[in-house]
């Protein structure tokens, strides 16, 4: 090891207090990069493997009831490579040990095992046998959550019958990687499952011999951009066969959530590390500039002895590279742990058969490279100072720093009332303008990250409150197999424990406005509905007009519609003739693309005076009342699905809160590291520069606490101003982030709350105090005499 390298090691050791701050920020930056990139790559790979394994479909087409023979028309469409017809129905599950009926989807699978599109992956047990007994394969997580095993029995309520099935196996499938019930945001495996039945058995149960209600398929490889055109062609060919809706993979709920999550991960893994590394580089710049000044004489001496400029320049860059390297090594460890944590978390949400935490050397090398390059960039300026230093000049003591009044002192009105302590602070801040600017920037970024993170939490909370408690207020939602008449409404309202019933009429349809076409549904509700409350931009309740539609703003934009325009609707159920209706009002919500209309108006469009396809209930929440109600509901023949929204919301809240606590903890630590490192670096550099001044104050009789206060004031001013500036920055970050996410299903609100500002403020102050504790300790252990003799 060369002598200069030895000096390097000792310099590193000597500066370790300062370096801890920089290294921890840099480590977080590279660690986040490595961890999030690893998670991203693993998620992407797991998804690809899984999709391939299950032959994940490119599209889904739903029919009311299509004769299988007619579906053969699909073969004539060049853009479709292969397809499979199947049956899929919503189902209610009656578990002996559960009071509440559970929901799910039942799907037909070939009687005998064969590779198919949207195949299942058996986890436990076997595929269907020939024993003749009704058999079912159930979703593995549902089985796990409800402690069901192959060999046990299970009751499904389907087509007005309560049927008993023998569980033969548990399985998962790529199309339900993110398995959520209708209207939910988070998976709830305890209450929502998928059930696979043999095709023949299912045909009999639903009277679907020779017919199907769903097609899943793959596009021909050449079809990339024209997927919608292919499906449109399919729609036109199969219109008369009961074509209802078609869905592309990108819009398919599970895939939407999986892909969105992975995309977001990709964005964040670029954005977050950049912020940290930028801050680290800037702080390193402050340190290196100081180091270059501190080593002025040494540099001069080395040059005098005969060391070349490049050797000394490289020596300083090596210092930075070493800092980057140490940060990189720690980042690798952090990255592995982070990926492990994130993947474990994802495994809770997504059902992947093999979500592994594979190690990608390349990702680590990139992380290392970024860390080292960033450290070197951060020290170029400081190292250049060394290069410019003339040896003869370096031997002479440095000329005294700038003095004189700062600009603010001219504003006597402001300056005069300031106590001397504050004057010192302000002068020091203004005299080291670039250092102050960097510290302010770092504080701003720290607060920005904190605020944006907390705003995301608040948005989720707001979303749940707004969407699930304010806009839809029912406790239980019912879906009927077929549309019912007023009698059903009457019967429901006389069920025990039911406080309020509101009928719903859901009419799936296509919305057409000239060249613009969208699939969707109209939800018919009472004009004075209490349990479904569409609202406008200002969150005011919208009264349902007696004629025309109330349409979600985003859908209206897609269709290029304005209030008062007429729109053509093509109903998929009831009378199917296209009809022109006016757009009466625009509504604003955060979830889905809802269209509302007056229930009676909608019934008339269908050619009936009154029809209801479902109902919303408000119930008595006492356990005994619930028990009886559920028992009665389970026995009602017309029932297709019974959704307990209370459970859904409770569950969603639990899941969200659990994740939020982890997330908030991490965000606070991340932002706190920046606040901490920022103040520690600025204060220690400041202290080392002003050692003589500090010792002089000490010699004059100032207490060490009083001296500490000078530094604390400056730190607080910097981080508090940073926190204030960080608030709008956080707002902007959130705004940009929401722009990156597809907004058709979920539109995250940009909301803020006083607690966020308070939390940002408190975090800034808290971590400032923490960093100041280190500075105060330094001041307490300082030897006045030695410091007085320091050659500055």
């Amino acid at each position: 090891m060369s002598i200069l390298d030895r000096k390097l090691l000792r310099d590193l050791m000597a500066a370790r207090g300062l370096l801890i701050a920089i290294i921890s920020i840099m480590m977080l930056g590279s660690g986040l990069l490595i961890g999030m990139q690893t998670t991203f790559t693993n998620m992407e790979a797991a998804k690809d493997r899984y999709y391939r394994q299950c032959r994940m479909a490119d599209f889904w087409i739903d029919f009311k009831k299509a004769p299988v023979a007619e579906l053969e028309l699909l073969n004539s469409i060049a853009g479709i490579r292969n397809w499979r017809q199947r049956l899929q129905f919503p189902v209610t599950v009656d578990l002996d040990q559960r009071l509440k009926p559970l929901n799910g989807t039942v799907i037909s699978m070939p009687d005998r095992r064969q590779p198919v599109i949207n195949d299942i992956l058996l986890i436990r047990g076997d595929y269907f046998s020939d024993r003749g007994e009704p058999e079912v394969i159930i979703n593995d997580k549902f089985a796990e959550a409800n402690r069901l095993r192959p060999g046990q029995k299970l009751h499904l309520l389907l087509n007005n019958r309560r049927e008993e099935f023998l569980i033969v196996g548990t399985a998962i499938s790529a199309e339900f990687t993110y398995l959520i019930g209708p209207g939910s945001l988070t998976p709830d495996p305890e209450n929502f499952g998928v059930f696979y039945l043999p095709r023949r058995q299912m045909e009999e149960l639903f009277d679907f011999q020779g017919a199907a209600n769903q097609v899943v398929g793959h596009f021909a490889p050449a079809v990339q951009r024209d997927q919608e055109a292919v499906l449109d062609l399919a729609r036109r060919r199969l219109e008369s066969s009961g074509f209802k809706t078609s869905t592309l993979k990108k819009d398919f709920t599970s895939n939407y959530f999986v892909t969105n999550e992975i995309d977001q991960l990709a964005h964040m893994s670029a954005f977050l590390p950049t912020m940290f590394l930028l801050v680290a580089a800037l702080i390193l710049n402050v340190l290196m500039t100081r180091l270059a000044k501190q080593q002025r004489t040494t540099v001069g001496t080395l040059k005098a002895i005969g060391y070349e400029d490049t050797a000394i320049f490289l020596h300083f860059l090596k210092f930075a590279a070493a800092v980057g390297l140490i940060a990189a090594i720690l980042a690798s460890v952090l990255g592995i742990l982070l990926a492990q944590g994130m993947l474990a978390q994802y495994q809770n949400f997504f059902q992947f058969p093999d979500l592994r935490n594979d190690f990608f050397l390349q990702t680590h090398l990139i992380g290392w490279g970024v860390s080292i390059v960033c450290a070197i960039l951060g020290s170029l300026y400081g190292a250049r100072q060394v290069l410019l230093l003339q040896p003869a000049a370096a031997m002479r003591p440095e000329p005294p720093g700038q003095g004189g009044p700062i600009l603010l002192e001219r504003v006597q009105l402001l300056w005069n009332p300031l106590p001397p302590g504050w004057r010192v602070v302000l002068r020091s801040m203004f005299r080291h303008r670039s250092r102050t600017a960097i510290a302010l920037f770092a504080g701003t970024v720290g607060a920005g990250i904190l605020v944006s993170g907390l705003m995301m939490m608040e948005a989720t909370e707001y979303f749940v409150r707004d969407e699930f408690e304010r806009r839809i207020r029912s406790d239980i939602d019912l879906t009927f197999k077929d549309a019912l008449d007023r009698q059903a409404w009457y019967e429901l309202s006389h069920l025990p424990g039911v406080d309020q019933v509101e009928p719903l009429l859901n009419v799936p349809c296509d919305f057409v406005n000239g060249p613009y076409r969208r699939q969707g549904a109209i939800q018919g509700i009472l004009s004075g509905a209490q349990l479904t409350v569409p609202t406008d931009k200002e969150n005011r309740r919208i009264r349902i007009p007696s004629v025309g539609l109330v349409m979600e703003r985003r859908l209206a934009e897609h269709l290029h519609l304005r209030v008062g325009d007429a729109i053509e609707i093509h109903p998929k159920t009831g009378r199917r003739d296209p009809i022109l209706v006016p757009l009466a009002t625009i509504s604003d919500s955060q979830f889905g693309l809802n269209v509302y209309a007056d229930l009676q108006y909608l019934s008339r469009i269908r050619g009936e005076s009154f029809a209801m396809s479902g109902a919303q209930l408000k119930i008595n929440k006492a356990a005994s009342a619930q028990r009886e109600l559920y028992l009665r509901l389970k026995k009602m023949p017309a029932m297709e699905a019974i959704n307990s929204r209370m459970e859904l919301i409770k569950n969603m809240r639990e899941t969200i809160i659990q994740n939020q606590n982890i997330a908030i903890g991490m965000i606070v630590v991340f932002a706190g590291t920046i606040f901490f490192g920022n103040v520690l670096n600025a204060s220690l550099v400041n202290l080392s520069e002003r050692q003589r001044e500090v010792a002089t104050l000490g010699a004059m009789g100032y207490t060490r606490w009083e001296i500490g206060l000078l530094f604390l004031r400056e730190s607080l001013v910097i981080n508090i101003i940073g926190a204030l500036l960080g608030m709008p920055l956080g707002y902007v970050l959130i705004f940009l982030m929401t722009k990156m996410i597809d907004q058709d299903l979920v539109r995250f609100p940009i909301v803020t709350a006083p607690w966020i500002w308070i939390a940002a403020f408190i975090t800034a102050v808290l971590f400032t105090l923490l960093a100041h504790a280190v500075v105060q300790w330094r001041i307490h252990t300082m030897n006045w005499l030695e410091s007085l003799q320091v050659r500055e």
């Binding site: 000096k7 310099d11 040494t298 005969g306 060391y307 040896p391």
Partner: protein, 219 residues
């Protein structure tokens, strides 16, 4: 060793002869340090020339200047200028590494009487000891020219004497040319030649037929 001719400040010109001990004496502001910097290749004059073995140092690039310092010059500074983060031995090695044909670093430290203190850091050494390390560091390259800026300036009388003795011993043993600048006229008694400076001019030049051994110098 060839001639070193310098024209500095006010028509100032003198030679440094191979193997001699030359003292330049003058009050502060007389231009001593400037002359030292010019001869040592730390600085270049705006006008005039500094000729070392036929090369005009005023006209070479900074890289060549560095090479000149590296090969031919050893510095002893008033405040020693040791690298604080290196031990005594490492400080000496830091110079030895640069030379083509360096002397043995440990031997040098033994010679300056620091055999026991080789692994101490500058902060653990007294001023006199630090100056000895500085001398060892200057000499270890086996330079032709040893430039000493107030070598006893920061030392007490006795340590100053012993530092001087060391320098002269190297002059004697290795034939190193030594240029000492000082405001202390007494120091001049040990030199072969003394140049007196004032305000950038040579006031007088005198030759000591019989330089005193340092032990007999009094200031």
């Amino acid at each position: 060793m060839g001639e070193v001719q310098v024209q500095v400040l006010k028509n100032l010109s003198f030679d440094v002869l191979d193997g001699e001990v030359l003292a330049m004496v003058g009050p502060s502001g007389s231009g001593k340090s400037t002359i030292l910097n010019l001869i040592g290749g730390l600085d270049q004059p705006n006008h005039g020339s500094v000729i070392f073995e036929g090369t005009d140092l005023a006209k070479v690039s900074s890289t060549q200047l560095t090479r000149y310092r590296r090969k031919h010059v050893g510095f002893v500074f008033q405040f020693y200028n040791l690298v604080p983060n290196l031990t005594a031995l490492e400080n000496v090695l830091s110079a030895a590494q640069l030379a083509d044909d360096p002397l043995d670093a440990e031997e040098m430290l033994v010679k300056v009487g620091l055999a026991e203190r080789m692994h101490h850091f500058p902060s653990q050494l007294s001023g006199g000891e630090q100056q000895r390390v500085a001398i060892a560091r200057a000499v270890v390259k086996n330079p032709k020219l040893l430039l000493c800026d107030e070598p006893t300036g920061a030392l007490d009388f006795e340590t100053g004497i012993s530092a001087l003795e060391l320098l002269l011993q190297f002059n004697h043993d290795l034939g190193t040319t030594i240029l000492i600048i000082t405001h202390n006229t007494a120091l001049a008694d040990v030199a072969n030649r003394v140049i007196h400076l004032r305000s950038g001019e040579i006031v007088s030049t005198e030759r000591n037929a019989h330089p005193l051994p340092p032990a007999e110098v009094v200031w």
